[in-house]
Symmetry: C2
Subunit: 313 residues, 2 copies
DNA sequence: ACCGGTTGTGGAACCGGTTCCAGGAGCCCG
DNA sequence: CGGGCTCCTGGAACCGGTTCCACAACCGGT
């Protein structure tokens, strides 16, 4: 493995100059920069990460904290964040923690020593816990908003409200919402938006829940959905919706419409079923961009909130 | 942030001794170890990762390479690997690369400089590409076997064969297999096992495919499945099976049995539908254990192959 | 011809651990 | 009682970059 010293020797300059030529080309003579770059190229020089980190006092790593990897809501976020991180020469590590209980804070604190910042998804735990988790390092909160914290959210609440309105416009009079996990921040937002939409469109609204975001939970809800005599259902999560659709079909019930995500509706050829389209990758990218900004700033930065609009169709 | 020097000072020993007391307690006097540990505890000392890495010439990071994060087959593997990595104080980074084309090798090579080893999933690309990707650092191949490489696989081929046998025993005479992505190693194994099972049980076998492992692809297959007049279907992936089951139910078809994974079958209450149960987390754990062994060994280690049996029910 | 200012460079310290090596203390043995 | 061991320990070198600081060369302006 060639080192910076090797490059410097080949280029006929000092280590200091070589370092500057590669890292801050504006501080070196153009001709020198060219020579050093050529030398680095020729030797196949790749800077030693650990050395750079040690000298700079930064780790070059950011951690994304997710409650689980089984939920397809989070994985695209990770993918987007990963892509952006790679673009900036950063590494992304994954930590699986629900942050529901204070005990799990310890794990995050432990990790805090090894990273420059956090992308935090915390769908459930209390604001206090999330604040505590964010207190160690610069942190961007994903898919949740807390006063005073930088965050990136997909504005599903508005989209869910629109779904209800759409259903009402199509003549549905009894609409049912299947709530997500207990304590979910997004669930609270959606409930509020859905209530408002139902009220202003005059539809009768039934609320079910809480349910975990799983296929099995969706299957479970079928009975209650039928009992409620609703004609349109808005489920909290795709997995719940799928389970429900499945259970309904198994019973031969075909006159209850369940909203879903666009991809599902499309592949099933259910052209006119209302659907939402959350761009999880974009969410991850945006959050990573925000984190980069935080990491680049000198003093206490002002928290920024990004809201991605969610298309419905 | 307290450093080792602080700990050493508080304990009244030298940096060297402090380092040994914490890292190789057998090399220091028990009484000294206790004192240093107490000092470290008191100061809340956490070793600087970059410094350790630099001194030792290791990164303490392993990368898990997966083709996508959208497939629920891979995410539990990542989870399992992550857990084991954390136990050993290692970090896990995720790289998303299909390794199908030689160009993507460059990305892996780039990453190779920043990690100690790889966990490689490469469901598709050629053996040559995979070998090349593994040539940079110690590597454990996951869910695929290649001559001369250390690997951990879930023995789904045998399980798929057993599914076919099971179907045949139940009286199904026309069984259909929906093949996975073109070039998939696992698909080849499964096809072979399924063919053998069908032959020995006298069932007629129809092979479809290739198809990508998506819900949409499953929906697509419905027509062909019906046309084949099969009564039992074994789909390559859970997502394909779900899509198919959905499409069949939508058409009111209920007399075609589709095997699936246990969790699906259970939550749908389809008690007697044959199912498999792949423990992805275990797979990730086993692979990480193998990698740790590789990393610990001096000379060229002998490749080991682990095969996890897959339960069917 | 002389001076203040910019520009580019090299030497050396530094980041925070790990490890080699030499040496002192204490032990058993003949 | 002295030689040879083992057991611990501290000093110092080292990993491979980054950056502070001093200094030399060169610029245009008086």
């Amino acid at each position: 493995m060639p080192t910076l010293a090797d490059v410097a020797a080949l280029a006929g300059v000092s280590k200091a100059t070589a370092s500057r030529a590669l890292g801050r080309p504006d501080l070196a003579a153009p001709e020198t920069v060219a020579r050093v770059r050529a030398a680095a190229e020729q030797l196949g020089f790749v800077p030693n990460r650990a050395a750079t980190q040690l000298a700079r006092g930064k780790t070059g790593v950011v951690a994304v904290v997710v409650p689980t990897l089984d939920n397809t809501f989070f994985t695209p976020i990770i993918g987007g964040a990963q892509a952006r991180a790679a673009d900036s020469g950063m590494q992304l590590t994954i930590a699986v923690h629900s942050l529901e209980h204070a005990a799990q804070l310890a794990a995050v604190e432990q990790l805090a020593h090894q990273v420059d910042g956090f992308l935090l998804t915390a769908p459930r735990g209390s604001d206090e816990i999330v604040r505590a988790a964010a207190s160690f390092k610069p942190t961007v909160l994903i898919d949740r908003e807390i006063e005073g914290m930088t965050s990136a959210v997909a504005d599903t609440a508005t989209a869910f409200g629109a779904l209800v309105t759409r259903f009402a416009e199509k003549g549905h009079e009894r609409i049912l919402y299947i709530g997500g996990p207990a304590g979910s921040w997004q669930d609270r937002q959606r409930q509020a938006a859905i209530r408002a939409a139902a009220e202003s469109s005059g539809a009768t609204l039934t609320m079910l829940g809480p349910y975990p975001s799983t296929f099995a939970a969706g299957v479970e809800t079928a009975e209650a959905v039928v009992a409620a005599r609703a004609t349109a259902v808005v489920p909290y999560a795709t997995s719940i919706g799928l389970g429900l659709m499945f259970a309904l079909l198994s019973r031969g019930i075909r006159d209850i419409v369940v909203s879903s995500e666009r991809m599902i509706v499309e592949s099933l050829g259910l052209g006119d079923v209302p659907s939402i389209d959350v761009d999880g990758e974009k969410l991850g990218e945006v959050a990573m961009d925000q984190l980069m900004t935080l990491l680049g700033e000198r003093r206490e930065p002002t928290p920024t909130r990004r809201r991605l609009t969610v298309r419905i169709s």
